[in-house]
Symmetry: C2
Subunit: 311 residues, 2 copies
């Protein structure tokens, strides 16, 4: 195990925000480069209606490609039990289900109440128990830090939902700053509250960089005991609400931050930066974010991972 | 007093990195807009040779313009006692002197050893004591977190220099991440070490965003007790070593972070974002950074300052 796990969500969260559809061989090449850089977990796609998200139509194929890499955790997003069945059939190691803490966002996003989503988790857990008990189920509590539709989301609601998801059968509940509204004080406070209730079943911090606070929020989550962080190479998937503003936390900058702090990620930063190449070749002209790739690594930089970080 | 003080360095640190010279009336208009937004301290220019930095040739005029605002702390950078005399003559409230923790950088930047810079502080303190005892002297310990010329800078050297600067007559010693090499763990550790020795004479955190860690480093400095933060509107002054990478921490994003955390800055965020207008009008085409201006404030956002943050 390394000190922190950076879970790459670009092939799912990034690509679903890009209008163009990346071809299957291009996705495979990109995943190859991510794995070569030492990425240990990738959300490779989502099992949703191809009418809704044609970019994700080849997810089963991408899962099969990714499964060739021993040690790689292959994840997919599923919005419901139907998607979960497809994910199980494809052979994923882990599914993540978005569960909105905001009732208004839940209805707008998946046309289900929060209670109905909890029932969906129970159904997915049953499928998993019957067919593939090794598969992990993550509930990603979205709009955990605020909602553009509903406005404020109470912390009590988030803690309740994170706990209810575990009770329904999820293995872990993570917190997502879906709308880029989180601040470090809130992130630390809310993760502490959730951890106080569900302990080590607390999942990933999924932070956005909408207002530039992505890394600061990840740092705050780390301080609250979080060790898994979602991020997207080149910050792929600019926020639709904020032209010019990156959506996801940039994998390169997040990795640099942790490695510079002496926390091993298992990732080779130079190879990670090179993994931008297949991305730009596949999606020429797509805006890429990230300061570390522009600036390069500091003179004499020693990454924690290069010091034999595997502990 | 507000919870944190954001010291705007754009008119000095930003403009000196821009090749074009902003006209005197344009600088004045920009400073007017910054003051209107609630900025309480501005580094308005530097007293250096106009041959070296023609952008700063009108600093005495800019100081006089800024002095019309009651409550505004008018700062200028001075590289030596000669510059300090000019700053005193112009009527500044505060001077800041860059003192490199890296001997190699000190020689390259000001052609003086660290010991000679300490002697310069003593001379400046004497000028101040004789002519204008109310003026504050800040030593900005540059390359405190690493140096592109020398490589590593030991923490012992930084602590020694910060303390020696106070002993020589400086009122406070701040720490500058001149080269954008700092990480949050290092920032917290080093500020804690410095505070353990010079206590409340610990000055501002001057962080760069070269590798995207600017806000995370400011958060770490806050955790270590720092309450003054340098930042530059629109991150003006892209790092010359990193095309496309912003140099200074972006004032708008930093202000948003603190205000969202419930920490008052005295700054009106909307007015701050509007202060970009005189900047773009004066320097059309100059790349501007900052995510918060792109994304806008979150729905229902309540700034700490608007809650009557003055404590």
């Amino acid at each position: 195990m390394f000190d922190v796990l950076i879970s790459e969500v670009g092939p799912r969260d990034g690509l679903q925000s890009v209008k163009r559809t990346m071809s299957t061989p291009d996705k495979q090449r990109w995943i190859d480069a991510l794995v070569a850089a030492g990425i240990q977990e990738i959300e490779v796609g989502s099992f949703v209606s191809p009418k809704l998200l044609p970019q994700m139509a080849d997810t089963a194929q991408i899962v099969r490609h990714a499964l060739q890499y021993p040690g790689l955790t292959v994840m997919a997003l599923v919005p419901n039990a139907r998607g979960a069945q497809m994910a199980i059939d494809a052979g994923v190691h882990k599914v993540t289900l978005p569960v909105s803490a905001s009732e208004a966002h839940s209805m707008a996003n998946v046309r289900k109440t929060r209670q109905e989503m909890l029932e969906e988790i129970a159904k997915i857990a049953q499928l998993r128990d019957q067919q593939a008990p090794h598969i992990k189920i993550e509930a990603g509590i979205s709009t955990a830090f605020g909602c553009t539709i509903q406005g404020e989301v109470t912390e009590d609601d988030v803690v309740w939902l994170a706990q209810a998801a575990i009770a329904a059968g999820a293995d872990e509940s993570g917190l997502s700053d879906t709308t880029g509204m989180a601040n470090p004080a809130q992130v630390k406070r809310l993760f502490n509250k959730v951890r106080a209730v569900i302990g080590d079943k607390t999942g990933a911090a999924h932070m956005h960089n909408t207002r530039g606070l992505g890394l600061a929020n990840c740092l705050a989550a780390y301080d609250a005991g979080v060790r898994t962080f979602d991020a997207s190479l080149a910050g792929l998937g600019g926020c639709p609400y904020a032209p010019g503003a990156s959506g996801n936390v940039v994998t390169e900058d997040l990795t640099f931050m942790f490695e510079a702090m002496g926390l091993s990620t298992g990732i080779n930063l130079q190879a990670l930066i090179e993994a931008r190449k297949p991305l730009t070749e596949a999606l020429p002209g797509e805006p890429l974010y990230g300061m570390t790739p522009e600036a390069g690594l500091p003179k004499g930089f020693i990454a924690a991972t290069s010091l034999g970080g595997q502990r």
